[in-house]
Amino acid sequence: MNARDAILTAVRRNLPQPPVPLPATHETDRKAIAGGLGYKEHLNHMPEVSGFPDDGESNLPYFLKQLEAMGGRSFDVADATAARAKVAELFPTAKVICSVVPEVPGNRRIADVRDPHELNDVEVGVVRSPLGVAEAGAIWLSQHELVVTALGVLSQHLVVLLDPAAIVDTLHDAYGRLDLTASPYGVFLAGPSATGDIEGVIIHGAQGARSLTVLLLKSGRQPGS
């Protein structure tokens, strides 16, 4: 018997009895859901958390608080010009900027990258996230946004544009919106790279990005608009 069949046979022989049912979840049309899928209705106490938005309130302040706690920072930018100016102000000496967003021009074209190794000298990567999660201060990035997945981790510093309207309350809401099979890679990024491996001292920039900057900017605006 090959390994696959041997394992499946052993598992079947040893399945614990009786079978345990899956907790009931609310099955709804995925497209129709604005407020989350499945377990959300089991779990409706988040508004009790201090600072967490009540229904109808903006979840942006809570998102920003959590982002900061995870080591990230954020700036409001009015338009693409302001976004460009902010990147120039934050990284005045950056020689290699790789941007995949129209709002901020870079000097390394992602479309020209044939091999991820070519991104090793990138100082600032600029991308747009389609989804933020207030509860964790996290943003979602997939191959769709990064184009070359290594951009998110090889860039010394990462700048992420985020539309405040794209922030959901909890991870339950986020998974209700994401189609994981649509991209081979997707990451919830909560702050920059970090480690506490030496005596628990928190250090940012362990292996991935040293800093994470979120620029709050509505999507759909073109450069110079």
């Binding site: 106490h45 958390v49 191959q143 998974y175 099979t181 919830f188 030496i198 005596e199």
Partner: protein
């Protein structure tokens, strides 16, 4: 004949330098306190625990179905799915994949399963260079030690220990033990290795049957570099890591890092569904005693574990004795109930490396009955005739005495007389490990029974 692990002797070596014990206790208990704060911020915590437990129990009682679903979906996304019955088969499957791609060097992120399989020495003996990329794991690799904690592998080391190690291996200043300096040195040493690696290896925290993908949680982003820079990504995943659907991830990911470090999420929660553009993705599904454990009514719940380390951070024995005292891949309370399943003879002392206080069970995010299982492993050890001589003699004498009231009365009086008058050398010696770091309590003038008969019995 396997060497029996002696956790007491190993712990004694760790605490020989007092600063190790006190620093370790402070840091690990600190993680527990961060956890408590994070948990207090989630009013629905207990509901989440219950959901997580049910989802895991459901998956494990339908595991064959979910494994097949995962395999079919992953394959349809272009992932190569392999199966391995045991550690040996896992290692040879991995080696075959690597050698077919002429891989000379591998950059890996943390995987307890690959530790469990002894994969790194196996590959290195066959000429493949393996570099750990997680800071704590790299420290352990350079020290020739297994991880002492499943989340923070080198937490038992002082910054000065790391400075000394890095000075030798990375050429840093031995006098500079600033963690920022040391972490930066590691970043600069690791980056060229990521660039030169022919393959990246990771573990997997969750495998989703519905989508055929898996999730890897790190704080450094090291798994993401290993998966996105070299052309080949190989992930080792235990068959118990399956969950049914993507939406189930929300339940577990809200609890994992809160339980581990007290943060709402790990910095990187990475989802892999098929090969990235220009890459190749292999998943090895590993049994290695898991299917056997599944058939044990007493111990299958341990398969629910999501490897958060909360049980270790709260354990009074782990905190004082350190993770290396368990002499095994898995340490702390979860190690005590996992390790004997791999080798009962070798790990027969581990179930006694516990005070049975039950704190581990209280903090476990997936509601594993850890302390009950520790007690049940003691029974297994005894039934297998593997109790050490001192425990056997002591337990047997204790059992007889407690079962016979007259014997107990006599023993109590004699003990009190002896304890009150015995010279120190008789009480504080190698036969009484309890007295090594402690004073015995002062002996009362009479036993409780004598006092009761004198003061109460007459009046009643």
């Amino acid at each position: 004949m396997t060497q029996v692990v002696d956790p007491e002797a190993r712990a004694a070596r760790f605490i020989a330098l007092e600063i190790h014990e006190s620093t370790h206790d402070r840091l690990v208990w600190g993680m527990r306190q961060h956890r408590d704060k994070a948990v207090a911020g989630i009013p629905e915590w207990e509901e989440l625990r219950e959901l997580a437990s049910q989802i895991k129990e459901h998956t494990l009682t339908h595991l064959d179905k979910y494994l097949e679903e995962f395999e079919a979906k992953a394959t349809s996304l272009g992932t190569h799915v392999h199966w391995a019955r045991d550690a040996e088969e896992h290692n040879s499957v991995v080696y075959d994949i690597l050698s077919a791609h002429r891989v000379k060097s591998v950059i890996k992120s943390k995987s307890m399963l690959q530790e469990e399989c002894g994969m790194t020495p196996f590959l290195q003996n066959r000429g493949i260079e393996v570099t750990e990329s997680d800071l704590g794991e790299r420290i352990q690799q350079l020290s020739n030690e297994p991880p002492s904690h499943i989340v923070v592998p080198a937490i038992h080391k002082l910054r000065t220990d790391v400075a000394e190690l890095f000075a030798k291996d990375l050429g840093t200043d031995p006098k500079n033990s600033d963690p920022h300096y040391l972490a930066e040195a590691m970043r600069n040493n690791a980056r060229p290795r990521f660039m030169a690696a022919d393959a990246g290896m990771t573990g997997g925290n969750f495998a989703v049957a519905e989508t055929g993908g898996f999730v890897v949680c790190t704080n450094e982003g090291n798994a993401d570099i290993g998966a996105s820079v070299p052309p080949l990504h190989v992930a080792s995943i235990g068959i118990e890591k399956l969950i049914p659907r993507a939406r189930d991830l929300g339940v577990f990911l809200r609890m994992l890092s809160r339980s581990a470090l007290g943060t709402p999420m790990t910095q990187y929660t990475s989802h892999f569904h098929g090969p990235r553009r220009g890459g190749e993705l292999h998943v090895v599904l590993v049994d290695n005693t898991r299917s056997t454990r599944l058939g044990s009514p007493d111990f299958w719940h341990a398969l629910k574990c999501i490897r958060c380390g909360a049980c270790m951070n709260t354990c009074p024995v782990y905190r004082r004795g350190g993770g290396l005292s368990y002499g095994a891949t898995y340490s702390g309370p979860i190690g005590v109930i996992l390790d004997p399943g791999f080798d009962l003879r070798k790990y027969r002392e581990l179930p006694y490396h516990s005070s049975l206080c039950g704190s581990c069970t209280e903090v476990c995010p997936v509601k594993i009955d850890i302390s009950d299982q520790i007690y049940k492993w003691r029974r297994v050890v005894a039934a297998a005739g593997l109790l050490s001589l001192t425990k056997r003699v002591g337990m047997s004498a204790l059992g007889t005495t407690l079962a016979h009231p007259t014997l107990f009365d006599a023993a109590e009086s004699v003990a009190e007389t002896v304890l009150a008058h015995a010279p120190r050398s008789l009480l504080y010696n190698s036969l009484n490990p309890w007295g090594k770091h402690r004073e015995l309590p002062t002996v009362p003038k009479q036993t409780f029974r004598q006092w009761y008969l004198e003061n109460r019995k007459k009046g009643s």
